[in-house]
Symmetry: D2
């Protein structure tokens, strides 16, 4: 059988870009990580080292900084759409461009209830994300959140599961449910205002998580996805990855101390991982 | 020259403990990482493998969980003091116990201005820290903050420094000042309420950073430390480590685009590191 | 449109297992990280919190340790096949089990040319990997290497690429080519001895990288994949991810010093990423 | 009490430098991370923002690259000595310069017993380190190893330790002893050839670890330090940090399977940490 090049792509990852947008009353500070990935007619670059259809990844990086000046003004989705379109339309050999942007969140410092005009503090590990995939004929937009670390101290249990010879886990009607979510949703209908949409969906996800009487991570995950699809008609489907950040009751009874769901070992590994897409028929 | 054991210590690191404190109206969730380190009469453990004076690190870990039930109710400093005292008083061979506690911050979720009674979201990378060093005759308490990522988009410059044959940096009267601080302060007079003190000092540090007209990282660092010592008489000295998280203007001019302090490369490495203790005469 | 559960799976990640196999003349030490992921009839766990078809991830973890005693004796592929088959055949509701194993490599210490019988040193960051996907009717086996950090100081150039208004990269006929590869290959015909196959493929990959006159990362990547497919008929396709670990010549000329390809800035970010599958027609 | 500046320093960290040294028969590839830290007369930089005695950290970085051309030819200690001396002698306001260098190890690829002239593979996580502290009147040199991950599958026990009400650990005469060492030694008498000295000390440390009948981590640590001091008269003292990378027997007995020291849970946290300096009287 003859050997050939299969699916392939290349691009620049981890382009670290920050921008100050100077509004009359305050400075808006934004920091993003941009990944560019291109697919297209790159066979001869691979097979004979012909680089004549290769836009260097260094140039891709320069392009991101150059276009940020005029085109990174609003949401990361808007900027990603501009970038993806630029690469597809300016480079004939490129069939498809994928732009991933991760936004590192900062908040203006607040003193006595007033936002400072130019001092910022990190918004923490949680990050806003998007992915735009653009070809000549098509465009897909995903928005999301990553590293969203949330937990509830009650209204969560795990019971009536399969028991076999290797089962040692105890059933519980009351446990800590903690997770560090990675969530992406795909739009059928692109919203006019991605940031408003993001804020609404994030709030709904948190509310659903907080209010849910959880019988399992799976059920809570599904409820969160379902809530988004019920309210946001423009969202086609939503993908959720919820690692179980276990907080395991410490066995104080061995020391004749009662542990009434008070003292836990917080563990990172091993961890349960629940992954699902909630979609429409 | 005869060979001998010099300074030595041992203990358990990274004891990951979480606790739910059940108040009538809500659940308080706390998560900490505890390090225990003991100094004392351990020569023969090293020289002849005699473990008769060794309290295993596994037992130290169990002790942390067991004592958390009744004694981790308020600040991390209070818990660290209890733990340090426990090890020094219960183990005759221990001369000095050092307890480091790092608190991972969580906030109750807020919906429509109301805090949820048992749903939490991570407070981000910033963590509250303390170190207690206890011997039979003495006790020292340090409180601090780590991974405090802050920045200001103006009111910061760096000019009139030494120029030599290897200088390429351009002077600037207006740059981004960003840093991820690690700060510890030492008490002369132990406060009644460590959390109130912590909150006050943290707020003062942020205010000073935000309001400072910075001529250098050194000057801003010193101003932050000075402010704390001026207001908090019980604080003997404060140590600040401020890595410079550089945001470097991207050279758009090479593309005939003006960069009026708008577009930056955010870099992690290499980084300037400014370290100083501000103290009293 | 009705909302429904789409693709989903769950399992235990980061099961850290080590094993001593006691041979007459020496101890064999093995350390692996196992991930289990199951697909199947889990709809009602999501939609109504019915856990009656859920084998807890805690039990999955226990199962890995329990089965390691008798069934982790040879390659990670052999153990993964046993585990995948166990979950599919013992759990009627499971349609497909995916087992990922990463092996942390250790070498016996060598003194005066002789391997020590029971003292080991880490083999470094490079790790051997496999993935087995098993359903009632089908099985797929991938083997691979991750975090393989390799470089060559010459026989690598990058020239004659597209130049546009954002191009600043200089062409070079002689640069450092450095990469931290992630490589997986898929078998059409399962080998009798996975470890022999792995060792042969790894050696061939290294030899091809070392000997290649590289006109681009793409060309070297393709040459490496092609070499494996030419020699190993049982390999259907091979996937290579090669991030470009840039070593950028430092501009010494600004100090009137010549830099004849001697002094470089080693950077992690941003980085070019070249990804391709080499396959058969 | 008046407020004043206490101990302080500043410098550039994480200067990532690589170098090709072109020998007639092969290329020597070196990659190091350099940290520069300066102490001196910097009071007014802190108190009034006067930068006239500040050599920018950016210039420090440039200096490292510029001096590497002619002065990074042999050991990292030699280069660190040159750098430290340069900063102290060329900058009147600098009282003391500390240079830390970490060397990332690479090995030439070997095919059929022959080293390739210019293809390299990473030497793994283990790194060689040094620290030089230089003032006008004095110089101190430390050499070391970091991230040295070693283990032995037998000849290690832990018994006859203190038992109290929180003790649950079982005594064992046969356990895995695994550690990821950080070791530094200080020279009284600077060696002519740092690399030969390093290689000799590293080999002796590994031999001692491998051959020791360990009654505790403490005892093995001490034996390793003692061996170095006994053989290397120019070494004044040696500091060892040995985290206990626990491999805990998995309780297979609960499934009616015997675990004869075969199957272990490898854990990163919590971990015992043993730290000591072995010195001379």
């Amino acid at each position: 059988m003859k050997i050939k090049l299969g699916e392939n792509s290349y691009g620049k990852n981890a382009v670290q870009l920050s921008k100050i947008i100077r509004h009359p009353a305050y400075h808006e500070f934004r920091q993003v990580t941009v990944n560019v990935s291109l697919k297209g007619d790159f066979d001869e670059a691979h097979t004979i080292g012909d680089n004549s259809k290769i836009l260097p990844t260094d140039t891709q990086k320069n392009t991101v900084y150059a276009l940020a000046k005029d085109h990174f003004k609003h949401s990361i989705e808007d900027f990603a759409l501009y970038l993806a379109n630029y690469f597809v339309t300016s480079q004939a050999q490129v069939d498809e461009a994928t732009i991933d942007i991760t936004e590192h969140l900062y908040h203006r410092m607040v003193f006595d209830g007033v936002e400072h005009p130019h001092a910022y503090i990190s918004g923490g590990g949680e990050k806003r994300t998007c992915r735009v995939i653009k070809s000549a004929s098509d465009v897909g937009v995903q928005s999301g959140i990553t590293d969203l670390l949330i937990l509830k101290t009650t209204d969560s249990g795990f019971e009536k599961y399969i028991r076999d010879k290797y089962t040692t886990l105890k059933e519980t009607a009351d446990r800590i449910l903690a997770t560090k979510c990675e969530i992406q949703w795909t739009y059928d209908k692109l919203p006019a205002d991605y940031t408003a949409q993001f804020n609404g969906i994030r709030e709904l996800l948190l509310q659903t998580f907080a209010g849910h009487k959880s019988l399992s991570v799976q059920q809570t995950l599904y409820a969160m996805g379902q809530a988004v699809l019920e309210v946001y008609e423009g969202v086609r489907e939503i993908h959720l990855e919820m690692p179980n950040k276990h907080h395991i009751p410490f066995n104080l009874e061995q020391f004749d101390i009662q542990n009434q769901n008070e003292i836990f070992i917080a563990t990172d590994e091993p961890y349960g991982l629940i992954v699902a897409t909630v979609t429409r028929e």
